[in-house]
């Protein structure tokens, strides 16, 4: 993201000249090619891109689960290598531990250093705060198998929030949910983002979701992944999915996504 001249906000996350290639049968395949992106503090970036492009790889590199071939990732000017306290992730599958109750799953996200400083009561209060934030009150003592898909993903978001990262990566968190649950979680996520004032980056396949949630939309190309275009989303919240500005932007993103091909119109139903 180019630095906005008028804005005084600082850069939360900065990705510079990132490259990633994998060795496949003695060949080097470029997955990410020279990707550079600046994300301002408090932004909500929606990343869309064709499936099979390097979106998830990009996230795994930012999150420290994978290493780049070349290039850097920095948080507030500090270069990070590997897993970092300031970056955390909500996974596509909720990845809750089935043997832990909801409250204990959320507590797992709490940083150990911080946990040592807090008493049992303070820990509980903190867990309760996030349970309330994601609207899971009354389900603290449930096991994950007793929750619906949407509730599991809420718990998973709470577990990531309690770790108090500066940047939250959300890797297609709602892709496995039905349409209505997804919309309700998109609303919930908007509220959480506004209350917590975290910088969030979302990968999604759903252009509607990207427009509904993002302050900016980054459209990625096919492999090797580079940034095709960045859209600013200047639509007031709460956003009306049927308003002209919403549908117009969605159409523009869709066109960019499909490379101005005529299918765009047919997909846009």
């Amino acid at each position: 993201m180019s630095v906005n001249q008028e804005s005084e906000k600082s850069i939360a996350l900065s990705i510079k000249n990132l490259n990633k290639s994998f060795a496949v049968d003695n060949d080097l395949v470029d997955v990410i090619k020279d990707l550079t992106l600046d994300v301002e503090e408090g932004e909500f970036i929606s990343i869309v891109g064709p499936s099979g492009c390097g979106k998830s790889t990009l996230f795994r590199i930012i999150g420290g689960l994978d290493t780049p071939t070349d290039g850097t990732v920095s948080i507030e000017g500090r270069q990070v290598s590997g897993i970092d306290q300031d970056i955390s992730m909500v996974f596509q599958e909720n990845r809750l531990f089935p043997w832990r109750r909801v409250k204990d799953n959320i507590l797992f996200g709490l940083d150990d250093e911080r946990r040592k400083k807090l008493g049992k009561e303070e820990q509980k209060a903190l867990v309760d705060k996030y349970i309330e934030l994601v609207d899971l009150k009354g389900f603290e003592n449930s096991y994950p198998k007793q929750l619906s898909g949407g509730m599991k993903q809420r718990a998973s978001i709470a577990r990531t929030l309690i770790s108090d990262p500066k940047v939250l990566l959300l890797d297609e968190p709602f892709s496995a949910l039905d349409a209505f649950t997804r919309m309700s979680l998109q609303n919930a996520l908007t509220d959480i983002w506004r209350k917590e004032k975290k910088t969030m980056i979302l990968i999604t396949h759903d252009i509607d979701e990207a427009v509904f949630l993002g302050t900016k939309i980054v459209v990625l190309s096919e492999r090797p992944t580079r940034i095709k275009r960045i859209f600013d989303v200047n639509i007031d919240r709460p956003r009306d999915r049927s308003s002209d500005e919403f549908t117009n932007l969605r159409r523009d993103v869709m066109r960019e996504f499909f490379g101005h091909k005529s299918e765009a119109v047919e997909y846009n139903i």
């Binding site: 043997w99 832990r100 096991y143």
Partner: protein, 248 residues
């Protein structure tokens, strides 16, 4: 529904016992090979009355308890360590693959040669018998912990030991319990086998001794008691499992 099922499950055994009794009384079943259920029950009361049965049950249970405890401890320990370290697994792999297929009973004479006919040799046979299924299932359980769970621990920057105790072990627990259940069956088989070959007390000894004394009814008492105790051990383990794995 539950009551109906219990009744249904009891019909066949009851009918068989009645037929057996009638067959024995009418002489169509040889009572010196198959004493009637009535005679077996009398033998049961008699051996209970003079304390012989309880003494033998106690001896066998004590051996199983000690051997199983040792086997479970070593099996889980070895399974976890080898599940975590491919190097340790490779170092032990050849020895383990050769030792594993050896039938438990083959160890009985070997152990008697090494450490004599006393209690330790029997306890060790049971330990070996329960070790293998517990080790194998624990090893598999640890090896097959979903990488995705481990990544969660990484993302939240948990230490190695914490990851092992809070993520890998609980994730492997269902598999470990499968091992414990198979292991207790194997321990029970081992104790009777060891006692049949060389012992001066225990349910296995009671079987072979009754055969020597031509007391078939006592023999059947021991055989049936072995089955009934095995059944109850299984029930107990299942209860513990349900309680510990209620999330599963």
């Amino acid at each position: 529904m539950r009551g109906k099922k219990i009744i249904l499950s009891l019909i066949l055994p009851v009918v068989l016992v009645i037929l057996w009794e009638i067959g024995g009384r009418t002489g169509s079943i040889n009572p010196s090979l198959f004493p009637t259920p009535g005679r077996i029950f009398q033998a049961f009361l008699k051996t209970m009355g003079n304390g012989k049965l309880e003494a033998n049950i106690f001896v066998s249970l004590r051996r199983v308890f000690l051997g199983y405890l040792a086997g479970a401890f070593l099996g889980i320990l070895a399974g976890v360590i080898m599940g975590l370290s491919e190097t340790v697994h490779t170092v032990f792999s050849v020895i383990f693959e050769v030792l594993r297929p050896i039938p438990i009973m083959a160890w009985v004479p070997v152990l008697i040669l090494w450490i004599g006919i006393g209690e330790p040799s029997k306890v060790i046979v049971i330990m070996i018998g329960s070790f293998w299924p517990i080790f194998l299932n624990t090893y598999d359980g640890i090896r097959n912990v979903d990488r995705k769970y481990i990544e969660v621990a990484q993302i939240f920057r948990k230490k190695r030991l914490q990851t092992i105790f809070e993520v890998m072990l609980p994730a492997a627990l269902p598999s470990i319990f499968t091992g414990l259940r198979v292991g207790i069956g194997s321990a029970w088989v081992s104790v009777i086998g060891a006692e049949l070959i060389a012992a001066s007390a225990g349910l296995g000894f009671m079987i072979s001794y009754s055969r020597e004394l031509a007391q078939p009814a006592n023999m059947y008492v021991a055989v049936l008691v072995i089955g009934i105790i095995g059944y109850f051990i299984n029930v107990i383990i299942k209860k513990v499992e349900v309680k510990l794995l209620k999330w599963n």
